[in-house]
């Protein structure tokens, strides 16, 4: 496994990134209902490439080579399947390289494909799975491994999504002006969820999860670069993702334990990514609209600005959580706000606010009890033991459970 890791760190992800380009160009050319034939053809082309390039130098332009092989394979299959309705001899043109006719760029193909994978006929979970499959080039197994899901469940969701993809998408196109911002917003949400899936969940393979995060950023940049498409919330999301991603490696200890902000070595934060995040943050403030991404990005920025955990401007962070709590309330926001109150005003005030929350929303939330227990320990409150026991009972995560148990042991 360690061997695996070192090799995959040194590779360029050419296959994965070409997968998403090829699928976009070929669906653009042959239509969404040919998606199965197209996926098989790309897989075949990659397999061929893997075998040939193992023995000899890969070609100067691997993308062009892969395109030619996959394109011919699609033509071949369509011709053999005798679907004369779908097969149009005109399509054989443009075999040499994508866009020899120069109709639109590969980025435009990918952009249209992003909208197609987030088609409104699909459920959000299906949009996420299909995007990971077709836009990020992950296999069902990898999606399952990255997100600790059952491979069969992933496969079923993708099959359902692909069925809708075939029936509803037809020809790839950009949304018309009236729908544009609504569609962009839906895509932004999917990218946000993909990134969060890769970033926050503790389980799953770390290397894969980093790829997931990188791909979410790549997709957002494709939309951002299209003139007229980059809404302020997209810039806020880019800024948020880059702030968080700059800390990706610093979040994991040498023993592969997840480190919280107070335990991270801040010199390991990627300054280059942070600078880009600051720039997007500045740009996101243009225009009238603001979004939850703006708040989350502003909070991530406060952490980025702090020289140390102790020097963090908790007052400012609390203000931001207060606003978020008003405009975008959710149990998670409320709990994060409690943590900020603890840092800004102290445990007594935080516990009081926590007790004011509607307990019904948190009956199965282990974080609620973990935070409660933590505050009670700080205040020498005898309820701490019960809270920690409840938290341990509610968490499925072994590492988290171990962490809580060690806290409990300190109480005795």
């Amino acid at each position: 496994m360690s061997n695996n890791t070192s090799v995959s760190n040194s590779i360029d992800h050419i296959f994965r990134s070409e997968y998403s380009k090829l699928v976009s160009i070929l669906v653009g050319k042959f239509g969404a209902n040919c998606i199965d034939v197209i996926e098989d053809a790309i897989q075949e082309a990659l397999y061929k490439a893997m075998r040939m390039w193992s023995y000899q130098e890969s070609p100067k332009d691997p993308g062009k080579w892969l395109y030619r092989v996959a394109h011919n394979q699609v033509i071949d299959t369509l011709r053999r399947s005798n679907k004369s309705v779908e097969y149009n001899p005109e399509l054989e043109k443009g075999e040499e390289s994508p866009h020899s006719m120069n109709e639109h760029s590969i980025d435009d193909d990918q952009l249209m494909m992003i909208f197609a994978c987030c088609h409104p006929s699909m459920k959000e979970s299906e949009q996420i799975m299909l995007s990971l499959k077709l836009l990020c080039g992950f296999s069902n197994k990898e999606i399952a491994r990255a997100f600790m899901k059952n491979t069969e469940a992933v496969k079923k969701a993708i099959t359902r999504a692909k069925q809708k993809f075939k029936e509803e998408v037809g020809e790839l196109q950009l949304p018309n002006e009236g729908q544009l911002m609504g569609r962009v917003r839906a895509v932004i949400k999917v990218i946000y969820l993909i990134f969060n899936n890769g970033y926050t969940a503790v389980e799953g393979e770390s290397l894969l999860k980093k790829d997931v995060c990188e791909d979410a950023i790549r997709l957002a940049l494709i939309i951002h670069q299209k003139e007229g498409y980059s809404a302020p919330e997209l810039k806020a999301l880019l800024s948020l993702m880059l702030f968080n991603f700059s800390r990706f490696d610093a979040r994991v200890s040498d023993e592969l334990e997840l480190l919280t902000l107070d335990k991270q070595d801040r010199s390991k934060w990627d300054k280059e990514l942070m600078n880009r995040a600051h720039i997007f943050f500045g740009q996101s403030a243009s225009g009238q609209s603001f979004s939850r991404y703006h708040f989350e990005s502003a909070i991530a920025r406060e952490h980025a600005l702090a020289q140390s955990f102790e020097n963090t401007n908790w007052k400012q962070i609390l203000d931001l959580y207060n606003l978020m709590n008003r405009y975008y309330p959710s149990p998670t926001v409320s709990l994060n706000r409690i943590v900020a109150i603890d840092q800004a005003e102290g445990a007594k005030s935080a516990l009081k606010q926590l007790n004011n929350l509607n307990g019904k929303n948190y009956t199965n939330n282990h974080l609620y009890y973990a935070i409660k227990g933590d505050l009670e320990i700080k205040l020498n409150n005898k309820g701490a033991k019960d809270s920690l026991l409840k938290a341990i009972d509610l968490t499925d995560n072994l590492k988290e459970r171990g962490f809580l148990k060690s806290k409990l042991a300190c109480l005795h």
Binding site: L46, A49, M50, S54, Y55, D211
Partner: protein
């Protein structure tokens, strides 16, 4: 010093790998073969297309491949220099084909005068 031919079988299972896995696997082949080349062990080698023809029956019959079940099919070959058969076998053990479920290397000495 003798020459040996490696015949690789069982790489067909890798057609199911994900794009990323394929690229990782390819990187291992490149590393392995690059090492052999550097040590002067590698003479030649290429993959074989999975399609082909079989000519038989006094050259009267020509049939399409495949010639054997997927895992039996020769997927590629390599020619190496080695002191003796044991040495050739030891070198073959480093081949990344063994990552696959059916990976198999046949080691054969090339006859010489």
């Amino acid at each position: 010093m003798s020459r040996f031919m490696y015949l690789f079988r069982g790489s067909d299972a890798m057609a199911e790998m994900s794009p990323e896995e394929m690229e990782v696997h390819m990187g291992k082949w490149k590393t392995w073969m690059g090492g052999l080349a550097q040590e002067g062990v590698l003479v030649d080698g290429l993959p074989l297309n999975k399609d082909g023809k079989q000519v038989s029956n006094g050259a009267q019959t020509v049939i399409d491949g495949p010639f054997a079940e997927g895992k039996e099919m020769v997927g590629g070959y390599l020619i190496v220099n080695a002191d003796n058969e044991n040495a050739a076998v030891e070198i073959a053990k480093g081949c990344p084909i063994f990552e696959g479920p059916n990976g198999n290397v046949e080691v054969r000495e090339i006859m010489s005068m």
